[in-house]
Amino acid sequence: MNPQSTLPPTPAALPPKTGDPSAAGGRRDKDPRSEVRLFAGLGHVALAVWAVIVIVPILWTFLAAFKNTSEIFSSPWTLPAELRWENFGRAWTKAHVGRYFLNSVLVVGCSTFGTMLLGSMAAYVLARYRFWGNRAIYYLFVSGLAFPVFLALVPLFFVVKQLGMLDTYQGVILVYIAYSLPFTIFFLAAFFKTLPTSVAEAGMIDGCGHSRLFFQVMMPMAKPGLISVAIFNIIGQWAQYQLPLVLLSNAKDKWVLTQGIADISVNAGYEADWSGLFAALTIAILPMIIVYAVFQRQIQAGLTSGAVK
């Protein structure tokens, strides 16, 4: 359908047409202007309300992290009487948030690196080399996008168990990599296809080998795509809850942050250490705010890259 042809001039907007067509280069100003003001006014209220809904729970958590239990119960909306930094100390050491945090950094660091390395290697070969079975392997990877992880949860648990990698870092890391490959390859294969062939050919003529060509010529050229996918993977793997819950259940010292915080929240109920829980939450959220503030543009581009074809 053609949007222009289906646009009858609405009665409300008709009067100014007979008004002053000379104003501002043919734009009709009088009526639209008041309409703009009303619309923008209401819009501003809605936007501000949503911003408050997003910010307040987080800010409230940060404030509560400095309170003691009686303050949390008696005055949830006031500022803490004093800054009780000891809540953070308790969360970091006694509740092991520090440990969980570093575990998350280790696991996500290794698995994102592995995903990017293996993913880009596979995507590059699949995108730029013709060989028997190319399409079959490509579709094998891409079909993984359609399957829910829960379908495989039980067998996956036993596969990892049989390999002796239950409750180990390497088990989780390898599983993260495997489940990140479909999207990574899907996205990067499309990206490598768009890179010009002339550079690669020039490299080959200069006697550059296949792997050198990949690591020294193609990888740097694919940098924007690689960054987008890396961010996508980091955020996704950082947020993983289900897989570590199943794969690391008996190794509390290796738990990642999501698992740890969920566990602290259960224990906070028993021990009534609410301020400790708020402090733990703050430790989990604050670094994300800082990272987001710095890389906001890249993160938005990276996360939405999957949806924008």
Binding site: L47, F73, M121, F131, P148, V154, L303, T304
Partner: protein, 302 residues
């Protein structure tokens, strides 16, 4: 590019394919097989054919979970997309127009940054955060206020008919920002001349939205619907952490992922849990196929 092509290709593909087959393809294939057995982990699995699936049909928890997916599947995309579209429209074309160039409202950049932020947080962390927000006594963010002004506290997560909606609200809270950014990108690619032309014809903001923005954004909306639908079929982390005893009260918020997890790793009913997994797989597939079929329409060229 002739010499040494195959060793290179095999060398580059070996590790990724091996990893992928071991941890993804092989478990998926096994899931179908295990779902036909009564395996409990101790003795060798016995073949029981479709028994597990027959039992699924009489399982109240399973049907409750399916029903909740139905609710989430309709409500989550509908609410999220409606809010996100409204905001995206305001942020991109809601402001004044100068020389036909549509502008967003004042502060658009700030709003976009703030709205998107929850997307960066892990769902499990958000679930813990909202446990505090929803707490049923003075220490809760919402009930603290309600009780201060003398109202009865709302038992968000304890009341069976309210619990699922409370969880849904958190999912919407997290998702809106992502779709605002997604729709903004879509709106930015709509040529300004179209808006200009529509304005010349005297179209109001509302008309602009329904007659210009919406039809030209159809493809993006379709993608959003599929994404949110897939999210509605997952919802494990949020239900496991936020709801009262994992899908409670009394199964009022349970989802299939929760039931799979419980059957497999609490009751050790591996065969039965796998059957649920297969059911979930076909539900997801049906949804994706239906969505693409139902929303198919001629896309607008511009």
């Amino acid at each position: 590019m002739r010499h040494g092509k195959y060793p290179f290709v095999i060398g580059f593909l070996f590790a990724p394919v091996a990893l992928y087959v071991t941890f993804v393809i092989w478990p998926y294939a096994q899931a179908f097989q295990i779902s036909m057995t009564n395996w409990r982990g101790l003795s060798a699995p016995q073949w029981v054919g479709f028994d597990n699936y027959r039992r699924l049909l009489d399982d109240g928890a399973f049907w409750k979970a399916v029903q909740h997916h139905g609710v989430l599947l309709l409500a989550l995309p509908l609410i999220t997309i409606a809010i996100a579209l409204f905001f995206a429209f305001l942020l991109n074309v809601g402001g004044k127009s100068s020389g036909g160039q549509r502008q967003g409202v004042w502060g658009a950049k700030f709003y976009r940054v703030v709205f998107f932020f929850p997307q960066v947080l892990a769902v499990a962390i958000i679930a813990v955060l909202f446990q505090m927000v929803y707490r049923p006594n003075e220490s809760g963010l919402i009930n603290g206020v309600l009780m201060k002004i003398g109202l009865e506290p709302i038992l968000f997560l304890v009341k069976p008919n309210l619990a699922l909606w409370s969880i849904l609200a958190v999912l919407v809270w997290q998702a809106v920002g992502f779709y605002v950014v997604l729709f903004s990108a879509g709106m930015a690619s709509i040529p300004g001349e179209i808006y200009e032309a529509a304005e010349m014809d005297g179209a109001s903001r509302v008309t602009l939205f329904f007659r210009v923005t919406l039809p030209l954004l159809w493809d993006t909306l379709q993608v959003a619907w599929v994404y949110l639908g897939i999210a509605a079929f997952d919802a494990f982390a949020i239900v496991a952490v936020l709801s009262v005893d994992g899908g409670g009260p009394d199964g009022a918020t349970t989802v299939l992922a929760m039931e799979i997890y419980r059957n497999a790793f609490v009751y050790s009913k591996y065969g039965y849990a796998s059957a649920m997994g297969v059911a979930l797989f076909f539900l997801t597939l049906t949804f994706a196929a239906l969505t693409l079929r139902l929303t198919k329409r001629e896309s607008v060229e511009y």
